[in-house]
């Protein structure tokens, strides 16, 4: 298994498999998002209490899942980078951080746009909203560390440490609605028993979530490919300087 993962993580192999996967991810994201969001906007019924605003669910919930799921992927990349000094995992860290920060921002923005008509407030300092805001700042912190050092390897290692430490926030986000009395509603889909929402809302949500998942990975893998090209450019420039020096 370790050998298989190591072979996938070689930059040449990564370029090959990610190049083959990316068109499918982009295409899948386009189709699933068109289907899921179209279904949610036009066909799914309004909620008996929330009316039309329930349709914000089809963008807010996938973004929230990706904010947390993305951090799990980040923690795994951080672990691989710290334990095996895997260079590709190091490049995954800023790519995931940027993508995760964007999806967490989407979660916060769409949450505010849902909160205003339903709660009468754009923002409340309840445990769920506050822990997601902390998650957003953690994403930014990881990104700043990963990109902020001249010695890239050092920055990526520091970012990996923060990524692992920040994992503590994930159960706080998930269980904040159970541990504290929050204005945000408790979990209605990811529960030990059956989901508490009707199938007519659940299915378009799952299709939309699959679309956002494909979009998340398309963006992250694309950034890693660009970062590998940048490393190639740095090596080429270094060789050019050395060769020019040898000639003179």
């Amino acid at each position: 298994m370790r050998a298989f993962l190591a072979s996938l993580a070689s930059p040449t192999r990564f370029r090959r498999w990610s190049g083959a996967l990316l068109p499918w991810l982009w295409g899948g994201a386009g189709l699933l998002l068109a289907g899921g969001l179209g279904w949610g906007l036009l066909l799914a019924p309004p909620d008996w209490q929330q009316g039309e605003t329930v349709r914000i669910l089809y963008v807010h919930v996938p973004a929230a899942w990706l904010a947390m799921g993305g951090w799990t992927a980040l923690a795994l990349a951080a672990l691989a980078h710290l334990v095996w000094r895997d260079a590709l995992a190091g490049e995954m860290i800023p790519a995931l951080a940027r993508t995760g920060a964007v999806f967490t921002a989407v979660c916060l923005a769409t949450g505010a746009l849902w909160g205003r008509p339903m709660w009468g407030a754009w923002w409340v300092w309840d445990a769920r909203l506050t822990s997601v805001l902390v998650l957003f700042f953690l994403w930014l912190g990881v990104l700043l560390l990963a990109e902020g050092f001249d010695a890239r390897e050092r920055g990526q290692r520091a970012a990996a440490v923060l990524a692992l430490a920040g994992t503590v926030n994930l159960p706080v986000v998930k269980f904040s609605v159970d541990w504290w009395n929050t204005l945000h509603q408790p979990a209605s889909i990811m529960r030990l028993d059956a989901p508490a929402i009707h199938a007519s809302i659940l299915w378009p949500l799952l299709v939309s979530a699959a679309g956002f998942l494909a979009l998340f990975w398309a963006l992250a893998l694309w950034q890693v490919r660009v970062a590998l090209e940048e490393r190639r450019l740095e090596r080429l420039r270094l060789r050019l300087v050395q060769e020019a020096g040898d000639g003179g």
Binding site: T53, I56, L113
Partner: protein, 57 residues
């Protein structure tokens, strides 16, 4: 609040959900183009250096 106002919130949420990832995609695309261009320039400089050497030698 009327149904029309509700739809305005829904439309804003969808615009944010699609707009922010699209902005990131645009930024990555611009970065990819810039890197490709710089790689081509560095490769051309390296080829020119090799050619100069061959002519001198």
């Amino acid at each position: 609040m009327g149904a029309e106002a509700y739809w305005a919130f829904v439309a804003s949420a969808y615009a944010a959900a699609l707009g922010l990832p699209s902005a990131l995609a645009l930024w990555v695309w611009a970065r990819a183009i810039s890197v490709r261009r710089r790689l081509a320039a560095a490769q051309a400089a390296r080829d020119a250096l090799g050619e100069d050497r061959r002519e001198d030698g």
